[in-house]
């Protein structure tokens, strides 16, 4: 089937099998491999992207369901060399260890601040419930999000 969507501002149109997952489409068909596949069971959040500005787990969505939407992945955040404030905050606060969960964490965190621009530490911890860090580096991740909220 034919689908079309805007990904990181670029209009895309492709033929896909109906069973194609959004994450597969993003990684394999568009070659945007910044979005990671972690658990593949909608638990870990590594595959988090934005669909129409809201965080979703792209392993649990069909590309067909995103037909006609606007999708943002981790590659779509920076403007040239200028990092997104959330990326900047993760860098400055050492909000990562191995980095595998980071793209999903950053995307979930941006969506969280969209909905709650002045979160408490507890709001951030609950708001990132859908993203797991196997390095268990949650402390600095939470500090990063709080720092980004202050910017």
């Amino acid at each position: 089937m034919k689908i079309q969507m805007t990904v990181n501002g670029v209009p895309r149109e492709n033929d896909v099998e109906p069973r194609t997952l959004l994450v597969q489409y993003i990684r394999e068909q568009l070659g945007l491999t910044g979005t990671n596949i972690g658990c593949d069971t909608s638990s870990c959040g590594a595959c988090t992207v934005h669909v129409n500005g809201e965080s979703v787990k792209s392993c649990t969505m069909l590309a067909a369901q995103a037909d006609g939407t606007s999708v943002t992945t981790i590659e779509g955040l920076a403007k040239g060399d200028q990092m997104h404030p959330m990326q900047e905050a993760f860098m400055q606060n050492h909000g990562l260890q191995c980095g595998y969960c980071t793209p999903g964490m950053v995307m979930a965190a941006i969506s969280l601040l969209e909905e709650n621009p002045n979160p408490t530490e507890e709001d951030v911890r609950i708001g990132l419930e859908g993203n797991l860090c196997r390095c268990t580096g949650y402390h600095n991740i939470v500090q990063s999000v709080l720092a980004a909220a202050k910017k």
């Binding site: 109906p18 069973r19 965080s55 909905e115």
Partner: protein
């Protein structure tokens, strides 16, 4: 993990969706947010030949005040239930329970109707709407009918919905200032409840729904009868398992679940009674 192949159809209206499901019969499944169905398809626990995507039937996404109840379109997302000012005012228990479904990403996609039609005893909203005395409106080829939540759930993942019917609306009575509590006991973030309790109380009237305490969500009627008869919270909570038949799994034995249900019902009633 990729689902087995299927044909994808998109319905623009409830009538079109029902016509399509009539055409494809048992081979087809409705796809709303997909956050219960797609994981099952990826694990090959479900292999529908046709998916009928109903998520774009936008006129089934609404929350409206309607006399003594609030009418919620079946395709309203958990995120919208959780943040609805109308529900926060009139049915705060439901708005709060919706905020405990999965995680934010899941709530951006999953729908209240999808959760109820999936009829998972471990889900939060079936038991919550059951406790609240909700009515479900379903549409089929011969028109609509209303099903009381207490008559809807039949067994594990089985409901009174006929194969050619679609859940279109959830009607939840206004709580009229009743006290309420939602207790969800789990060990890990974003998990299903090992046991959950949704409860409200207004004087001697009450409703108590149990999550994951049997093949279906359970209405703990014995607890409400005891409260109506003037029993103390502790005595009423001791009857929490009168109607339940929990199973044992990796998370908990049946005995542990029964113990938990009594403790959580007591806490829920204490909180609702204040």
């Amino acid at each position: 993990m990729i689902p087995a192949p299927f044909d994808y159809k998109r319905a623009g209206s409830a009538a079109e969706a029902i016509s399509l499901i009539g055409q494809y019969g048992d081979e087809a499944k409705f796809l709303a947010g997909g956050h219960s169905l797609l994981p099952m398809m990826k694990l090959r626990l479900a292999q529908p030949a046709v998916l009928i995507d109903i998520a774009r039937i936008t006129d089934l996404s609404y929350i409206r005040e309607s006399g003594d109840h609030i009418a919620i379109g079946a395709l309203t997302r958990h995120h919208d239930v959780e943040n609805s000012p109308v529900l926060k005012q009139h049915v705060p228990l439901l708005a709060h329970a919706a905020s405990h479904v999965g995680d934010p990403q899941v709530r951006h996609r999953g729908t209240i109707g999808g959760s109820i039609a999936h009829a998972d005893t471990a889900s939060d909203l079936p038991a919550t709407t059951l406790a609240l005395g909700a009515t479900y409106v379903v549409q089929g080829p011969n028109g609509t009918r209303e099903i009381a939540a207490k008559d809807f759930y039949k067994s594990y993942f089985e409901s009174d919905l006929a194969p050619d019917e679609m859940l279109t609306e959830i009607r939840v009575p206004k709580m009229n200032g009743a006290g309420w509590s939602f207790q969800k006991f789990n060990r890990r973030a974003q998990d299903w409840a090992i046991v959950g309790v949704a409860a409200w109380r207004r004087g001697n009237e009450s409703g108590v729904g149990l999550v994951n305490m049997g093949p279906t969500p359970i209405l703990a009627s014995a607890v409400s009868s005891a409260i109506a008869g003037g029993a103390s919270v502790a005595d009423a909570a001791a009857l929490a398992t009168a109607e339940s038949s929990p199973s044992s799994d990796l998370n908990a034995s049946a005995e542990y679940r029964e113990h938990l249900a009594k403790v959580l019902v007591r806490r829920a009633l204490e909180q609702s009674s204040n």
